[in-house]
């Protein structure tokens, strides 16, 4: 009898300690990045180009690059993901074909991002003959597709049969019911998933290493190598030059704030 209670108490204490322990790295990372990064952040840092090796400078081109690449990735990934989600939810009739597509999407979501980078390299960079932001956007869009497709399908399936029938009973054709009514009701879950996908690709570095590569200049066109925050952090952190490492921390702070902001925002939206 007593032994049982002691066992229970032990588990309670152990599990509590583990939970406390796991919060340490989270707080540590956030504080660390904040303290080391804040010192370098300033207007100069945010609006100027990188300086020659080891001398500092700003990260403006990397910020712009990340935004451009993300925007392009979303421009490719969101329509494809949403369209596939709509197809799976409304037009597939749970056939073998839809099971096949679902399996592909599930598998794609598990493919390591570095492989997507290599895929974009083999498919686009080699054919074009130089590094390009287009290839980066293509690789990142493959990360966006499964996230958005899954959320779209689930969001649309969650729309009640009553709402659907209400729409059909007005004599609306199916594609209007799907796009204007069901998609409209499922809008919020698609928006949140798009935001999450955006946050996710903002942090992805591996797919950019062999596609957009890096650049020390302002983006000149989308079919050019392009700087990005993620690759900048990697390059600068690995360089060992103190001035660059400190700038890597500054860039990390920006990236962390962006990603955490979107995640917390999404939680707020979806729990409301």
């Amino acid at each position: 009898m007593n032994l049982r209670k002691i066992k229970n108490a032990l588990i309670r204490i152990t599990s509590t300690i583990v939970v406390v322990l796991i919060t340490i790295p989270l707080l540590w990372i956030i504080f660390d990045v904040f303290i080391k990064g804040i010192s370098v952040i300033g207007l100069e840092f945010l609006i100027s180009l990188p300086a020659p090796i080891g001398e500092g400078g700003g990260i403006a081109n990397a910020i712009l690059g990340t935004l451009i690449i993300n925007a392009m990735a979303c421009a490719i990934g969101l329509p494809l993901g949403i369209a596939t989600g709509i197809y799976l939810s409304e037009y597939s009739n749970d056939s073998t074909f839809s099971t096949f597509i679902r399996t592909i999407i599930y598998t794609l979501s598990g493919v390591p991002s570095i492989i997507l980078g290599l895929f974009a390299f083999a498919l686009i960079v080699i054919r074009i003959g130089h590094y390009t932001a287009i290839a980066a956007a293509f690789a990142l869009s493959i990360i966006v597709i499964p996230i958005v497709a899954k959320a779209t399908e689930e969001g649309m399936r969650a729309v009640s049969i009553e709402i659907r029938e209400g729409a059909f009973a007005l004599g609306l054709p199916k594609w209007i019911v799907v796009t204007k009514i069901i998609l409209g009701v499922a809008k919020s879950s698609i928006i949140t998933s798009s935001l999450l996908a955006f946050a996710r690709i903002s942090g992805e570095t591996a797919p950019l290493l062999f596609t957009a590569l890096f650049s020390y200049y302002w983006p000149r066109g989308i079919n050019e190598p392009m700087a990005s925050l993620q690759v900048l952090i990697y390059n600068y952190a690995m360089s060992g030059f103190e001035a660059w490492v400190i700038r890597a921390w500054g860039a990390s702070l920006l990236l962390l704030l962006l990603v955490l902001f979107i995640n917390i925002l999404v939680r707020r939206i979806s729990t409301r």
């Binding site: 209400g166 729409a167 004599g171 609306l172 204007k180 009514i181 009701v185």
Partner: protein, 250 residues
Amino acid sequence: MYKLRVNGLSAWFQNKQVLFDIHLEFPEKKVIAIIGPSGCGKTTFLRCLNRMHELTPGARVEGKVILDGKDIYSEMDAMEVRRKIGMVFQKPNPFPHMSIYDNVVAGLKLMGIRDRKILDGIVERKLKEVGLWDEVCNDLKRSGAQLSGGQQQRLCIARALATEPEVLLMDEPTSSLDPASSARVEALIRVLKNNTTIVIVTHNIQQAARISDFTAFIYNGKLIEYGETKEIFESPKDPLTEKYITGRFG
């Protein structure tokens, strides 16, 4: 002159037959009540009248439903049928992402009618018709989902009326409402009768007796008895009907 004639209607879910060879005629501008125990097929019957039944996977229909001389299954397009034969559901189902205004004109706006003046007129007229105008005229931009249950149901009726249907099907429209809201909807049905033929499924036989001119009793997918409401409720011919409406079933 009959508005709607049902000729040998049978319906199936997968291999299970749920309606058996139903023959009926609905006179114009009358209220017809469909009564029967739960699961007797009365809702399925209603859904066959505007081709909603075929939306259910595995559902099948045989027979004819003739609207003004045209068979809705062979001579009309499903969407055309549903515009001419509107439907109101058991649970109020306003589109939650749309404003009250957009809910009313959803059927028109989404089909490409964008003239603001026409839409404004329709919204006002239809909301007045269902007695919702005074309650909501100041915030038509509010979401339809924020209204009370009774208001939502009247909004859904306004939405169904906006496409000017000639027949209105109502599937237990008051079953999720409180008595006061139910009474308003019933009063509304009596007014709508002036322009529209109304077919209402209800499990509340008092309601059927109150609001309908004709009553059909369906049991186990078969039409047992159909006639003037007064006849059916005072001296039904079939012992099954008698048993059902006196509450001595099974």
